[in-house]
């Protein structure tokens, strides 16, 4: 079953201005449910832009993006936010945690939009923390964590809503080799959980991962064979 279908996606920054930049050109991708896909390419090839479109962080200039039979390309903000909330778990290069809050409070963040009871919220948070192997640090402030621990906190936050899709943008760029390998091992967990995963990276360590189903190579905003 197709989880995501991208048809003729274009993204132009500053369209109709002299400094217009064509970041993505005629992108066509189909991703199966549960598939783990690596977007490969050098910096500036358009990986992160494509990932932000898949996650509903920004909208394409043209083209269709069908996710679970819904075209997300032109959703109004309220539906686009709901899409990000329910369907997407993001893992960023710079972790994007809320400094000053504890691990637990960061992981709680997506759940606070729901009407769940505190007991249910705590259960979901604990489950996500256990999967990401960071439960032992739940009371610690994220600013006091190491890079690898911050990454695991970000993974727990991405999983807490149990979304079907995980998007990771250069997830190992700020990690040492050991922690990078731990993240790559995490892909097996994602696979076991049935998540569809798209990782934008140029880290060669990912080539060791057995869980990866497919590589998509990008260059200058285009998919290359």
């Amino acid at each position: 079953m197709k989880q995501m279908i991208l048809r003729d996606i274009h993204k132009i920054y500053n369209a109709s201005k002299p400094n217009a930049f064509h970041a993505l050109k005629a992108i066509n991708i189909e991703i199966e449910t549960g598939e783990i896909v690596i977007l490969k390419g050098v910096s500036g090839s358009g990986k992160s832009t494509l990932l932000s479109l898949m996650g509903g962080l920004s909208k394409p200039s043209s083209g269709d993006m069908i996710v679970e039979e819904e075209n997300i390309a032109k959703l109004p903000d309220i539906l686009s936010s709901r899409y990000r909330h329910e369907k997407i778990g993001f893992i960023f290069q710079s972790f994007n945690l809320l400094n000053g809050l504890s691990v637990e409070q960061n992981v709680q963040a997506p759940l606070m939009l729901s009407h769940l009871s505190h007991t249910h919220i705590d259960e979901k948070v604990m489950r996500a923390l256990d999967i990401a192997n960071i439960a032992h640090k739940k009371r610690q402030r994220v600013s006091d964590l190491s890079g690898g621990e911050k990454q695991r906190c970000a993974i727990a936050r991405a999983l807490v809503m149990n979304p079907p899709i995980i998007l990771a943008d250069e997830p190992t760029a700020n990690l040492d080799t050991h922690n990078s390998r731990l993240f790559i091992e995490m892909l097996d967990t994602f696979k076991a959980l049935g998540k569809t995963v798209v990782v934008a990276t140029h880290d060669v360590l990912f080539e060791e991962a057995k869980a990866i189903d497919r590589y998509i190579h990008m260059k200058d905003g285009e998919i290359i064979p």
């Binding site: 992160s48 832009t49 932000s52 996650g55 962080l57 920004s58 903000d77 309220i78 936010s81 709901r82 990000r84 909330h85 329910e86 997407i88 993001f90 960023f92 290069q93 710079s94 994007n96 945690l97 809320l98 000053g100 809050l101 409070q105 709680q108 963040a109 997506p110 759940l111 606070m112 939009l113 729901s114 009407h115 769940l116 919220i121 936050r157 809503m161 943008d169």
Partner: protein, 369 residues
């Protein structure tokens, strides 16, 4: 109004940045305290003035020439009594006595309800004479010799605003102290039962006796109110200080949103928070700060004015050579407080919510990379 979990999380985020919010809270509280204190003092004074002027005559007639006070005669009194609409004219003995030891002036007023040899004094007078060891009696030194009067009563604090420097005594004693002849009066108090005729009769008195000055009760009250009015003089400087502080506060709020909070908004948006959720969080956080600062400011001002009797501020309002022992009556003008609320809390909220909304609607993909 807002989902419970979202409201709780907004407070968690608020406490995360407590140092930033504490600065806003303190500045906001300071501004509200200052403005509320001025309002409270002013309202209390206006209220006390109303009490103090309740028993004022309808028209006061004085004989003044080039700013100097002269006496009025029995003929003047009879001329006013003959006017239609006037029911009574009372000759008043009123003047100033210089207390050389204390280097202050006392306002001496004749009061026929007091017995000969007795006097009733304002608390400012009592404090001034007590400093020179006068307890139950006081000696007036006149060109004709020493006059000793007994202190029978000290004026109530509610009327102290006007009576602080006043000594009431029997008119015969007052005449002796002020060296005034029996056929002469300092002022004439005119009673006019119909309030609609007061204005016209004030003019008629001046027509009948062109050398006198006639002042209606309303004019007297207006003069006093103007004297203690909070919109003039030094208060404009005070308001200017508040305005500048408030602008600094608003600028700080805007800088916060465009600075570190920009990233926070982008992170929340990336995990599924909608524009309305971001606005709700900012509204909850900043209304918590603004409301608590407003209530604290009003509370502190209330204690400062009505419990501690407004040290420093009272000297600006009640500047006098005698120490004032006015006790402010707790009065609150809810309309003015409501206006203060509207003109402080709403701009404060707007300065956070509008930039937050502007950031929330922007493309967040760059901010979270």
């Amino acid at each position: 109004m807002f989902p419970k979990n979202l409201s709780e999380y907004a407070i968690v985020l608020l406490l995360k940045d407590k140092a930033d919010h504490l600065f806003s809270f303190l500045i906001f509280t300071f501004i509200v305290t200052l403005l509320s204190a001025v309002l409270f003092v002013s309202d209390a004074i206006q209220s006390d003035l109303k009490v103090a002027t309740l028993f004022q005559p309808d028209i006061v007639v004085e004989n003044t020439l080039a700013g100097r006070a002269y006496t009025l005669s029995e003929e003047d009194k009879e001329a006013i009594e003959s006017l239609r609409g006037v029911t009574a004219v009372e000759g008043a003995v009123d003047g100033y006595y210089y207390f050389a030891q204390g280097r202050v002036w006392f306002h001496v007023i004749g009061d026929s309800s007091l017995r000969l040899g007795a006097m009733r004094v304002g608390s400012g007078v009592y404090t001034a004479i007590k400093a020179w060891h006068y307890e139950d009696q006081f000696n007036f030194f006149t060109p004709k010799g020493k006059i000793t009067l007994n202190i029978e009563q000290i004026e109530s604090k509610a009327t102290n605003l006007l009576c602080n420097d006043v000594i009431y005594m029997h008119p015969a004693n007052a005449r002796a102290v002020l060296d005034l002849g029996m056929e002469h009066y300092s002022k004439l108090y005119v009673t006019v039962p119909n309030p609609n005729e007061v204005g016209e009769l004030t003019l008629k008195i001046v027509e009948t006796l062109p050398y006198v000055k006639a002042t209606s009760k309303e004019e007297i009250l207006a003069n006093y109110q103007h004297l203690f009015y909070y919109k003039g003089g030094v208060f404009m400087i005070l308001y200017l200080v508040c305005m500048v502080s408030f602008l600094i506060l608003l600028k700080n709020q805007i800088s916060l949103v465009y600075g570190e909070k920009k990233k926070e908004i982008a992170i929340l948006r990336s995990i599924g928070y909608g524009i309305k959720d971001i606005i709700a969080i900012k509204f909850i956080q900043n209304s918590t700060v603004a409301l608590s600062a407003f209530l604290s400011g009003v509370g502190i001002a209330y204690l400062y004015v009505f419990f501690f009797q407004a040290p420093l501020l009272r000297s600006i309002f009640l500047g006098s050579e005698l120490e004032h022992s006015v006790e402010f009556t707790p009065i609150m003008d809810m309309n003015m407080l409501f206006l203060l609320f509207i003109f402080s809390v709403i701009p404060f909220l707007a300065c956070v919510i509008l930039p937050s909304w502007k950031i929330a609607i922007a493309d967040m993909s760059e901010a979270v990379r």
